[in-house]
């Protein structure tokens, strides 16, 4: 269970070149293990989406990957460096091994093609020799898998409701049974009832198919409930990473702590909500040292000068944090 399927090391992603570049993702290390759900949360603009698109090389211009590596470990065969794949091999790699569910289902489906066309062409592109009938059968199965009747195959996207479209995207993501599924805020546009339904189905499918999920959302409650591990991003860096329950019970990083004290809970006793003072950092003029220090209630001497490394703190084994309050006992091995 704990063997890695996707390893991100020192990934740096910029928007633009040279001096004008915005460093949206800085030296991110992250490992996704086979079959797990890794949640990714953080303030708006902290670089979550950029990370997700960057590691699949789908960032539109002016995004560029300026450093690091992304290693994919197939079930069998040697590891692959995704960043050095040729366009043709990258195309083959995509979807078959890593698929993505984008934020807005509304815009992710081509409005002028039928659902069937869009489902079938991904199968056809990767398995050109398969029989047409077999492909169609697979497409029907996929739709059924996500709880949509197969006769909706001939619909156009606009004829489906938002929830159905989102489910079609999930079905499409699973079409080639990839090892990794990346989901960028897949349910923000939906209401809670719909959201719960979709995630429920997804959890079921994951148990059946055993893919790993990188799940990005703002909704911490959802994340805590749905994922195995959670990574928190701030200012382009991962500031904390821990098993979901641990993180929820005890946040090490002051930013995580602030986040956890920012959302009201529906159940249980009413908690004090403190929030996080100040405003998010400007990516073009990042504070020196720890990016969070200007807002941190517990900032002290090294915080404004030195960037804390991400690693295992002595006081909390089994989790990673980047904060001078919890000095690293053992840096993450490279």
């Amino acid at each position: 269970m704990r063997d890695p399927v996707l390893e991100i090391r020192g990934l740096r992603v910029d928007y633009g070149l040279g001096d004008a570049a915005v460093h949206a993702v800085r030296d991110v290390d992250l490992t996704l293990h086979r079959g797990e759900v890794l949640g990714l949360a953080g303030e708006s603009g902290s670089g979550k989406s950029t990370l997700a698109y960057g590691l699949t090389r789908l960032l539109p211009p002016p995004g560029v990957i300026s450093g690091g590596e992304v290693v994919y470990h197939p079930v069998d065969g040697p590891p692959v460096d995704v960043l050095s794949l040729s366009p043709a091999r990258l195309r083959a790699f995509r979807w078959a091994d890593t698929s993505i569910v984008f934020q807005g289902a509304m815009n992710s489906l081509n409005p002028v093609h039928r659902i069937s066309t869009q489902l079938l062409d991904v199968i056809k592109a990767h398995e050109p020799r398969s029989a047409a009938a077999a492909r169609l059968a697979r497409a029907r199965d996929l739709l059924r898998l996500v709880g949509i009747s197969a006769d909706r195959l001939e619909s156009y996207p606009h004829q489906l409701s938002g929830g159905m479209r989102q489910r079609v995207m999930i079905a499409m993501a699973l079409a080639l049974e990839p090892q990794v599924v990346i989901m960028d805020e897949p349910t923000t546009a939906l209401d809670v009832v719909m959201q719960r339904q979709i995630l429920g189905q997804l959890a079921e499918l994951r148990q059946r198919l055993g893919f790993a999920v990188l799940f990005i959302t703002h909704d911490l409650s959802l994340l805590v409930e749905f994922s195995d591990r959670i990574a928190i991003m701030y200012g382009g860096r991962i500031v904390e990473e821990a098993p979901a329950a641990d993180l929820y019970r005890r946040a090490l990083h002051p930013y995580t702590d602030g986040l956890l004290h920012s959302f009201p809970a529906l159940r249980g006793a009413r908690r004090e909500l403190t929030g996080i003072p100040g405003s998010p950092p400007d990516l073009r003029a990042m504070p020196t040292g720890c990016a969070f220090h200007p807002r941190c209630p517990r900032a002290f001497t090294p915080c404004d000068t030195d960037v804390p490394p991400l690693g295992r703190p002595a006081d909390a084994p089994g989790r990673d944090v980047a904060c001078w309050l919890h000095p690293v006992a053992e840096p993450v091995p490279r």
Binding site: E43, V192, V193, F226, D228, P264, A265, L266, R270
Partner: protein, 390 residues
Amino acid sequence: MTLSESAAAPADEVVLEAVGLTKHFPVRKRLRDLFSRTPAVVHAVDDVSFALHRGRVTALVGESGSGKSTVARLLAQIYPRTAGDIRLHGTSTRVRGGRPFRSYVRRVQLILQDPFASLNPVHTVRYHLTRSLRIHRNAGRSAEDLDKALANLLTRVSLAPPERYLDAFPHELSGGQRQRVAIARALGADPEVLLADEPVSMLDVSIRLGVLNLLQDLKERLNLAILYITHDIASARYFADETIVMYAGRMVEGGDSETVTQNPAHPYTRLLTESAPDPERITGDGAGAGIDEAAGKDRGQGEPPSLISPPAGCRFHPRCPHAMRRCTADVPPRLTVGDRPGHWTACWLYDPATVAADAPGSAAPDADPAVPPPPALVEREDTATLGEAR
């Protein structure tokens, strides 16, 4: 400066009241409808009544498309209403435009849903606020007065120092800051009522909290009556004194916030609260089991009903696990739920006569014996534990 820091009027006075408010949007006719007598309309809001009190926040929750924004716009008189009445301090008002409209909006201000869209990208913060002050003649006489009023407004919404924000364009502000500007603009009119349409839905949790705290603060300091519209039922619990739940254009439940969220009466409210993500639900092994468990009840029918031809009777009945025959025929009236004063719901389950005549769940689409029995029929042993929340 005319903005009243503390209103003399007693708190809890009803400021704005909706009585049987109804809004039907006409839809484009199709050829075959040409010959039918009844015009096709979207029943966006049907028979909605509630009151906003001075110094209190009323939350309006419900799924997407249930008519929440429409209610807010009706109250702001941006849309003409189809039926019903809007009473400001007890007097019925209907304004169309011109001077009466302006004097109405001076007292009732609307804050729109999306902070990214509700500020004109070509104008500075100064322009937006100046306009609001000027229209409602709160700008004073001289340029100095105006500057003072602007500074005052910005400080009030915690955008300090004001000079830093006055000449900024919207795109230079963060979402939370924009939302505050939008609120400041509404305050520029020195209103008695704030209609805040999902003021935080687009924001990040930490920024969201800041805005909500601000509203809370304003309510207390200025004695405003606030209508707080949201999807996020948990935030309603925290910030609203009273919560109203809407489903498909109708009000289905209302009462004190803590009661409605902790002890929901209507099956739809229950579905809503159960579906809301809840970190407390994690069992510890982190396998996401909670998700599966809650998802079972509404599978495959998660679609809201058509509002052009809404279901007869209770609009929730096609999805309701406890639906009875009566639910498919008669619109349920407001029924008081016994647990708290002021808690009511529109559900036949709370009418003992109906329940006696008709087995709950007998008309449900796929009656599932595993579903817990309707709340009215079980003894509420958990009520006591929730009581001390407030």
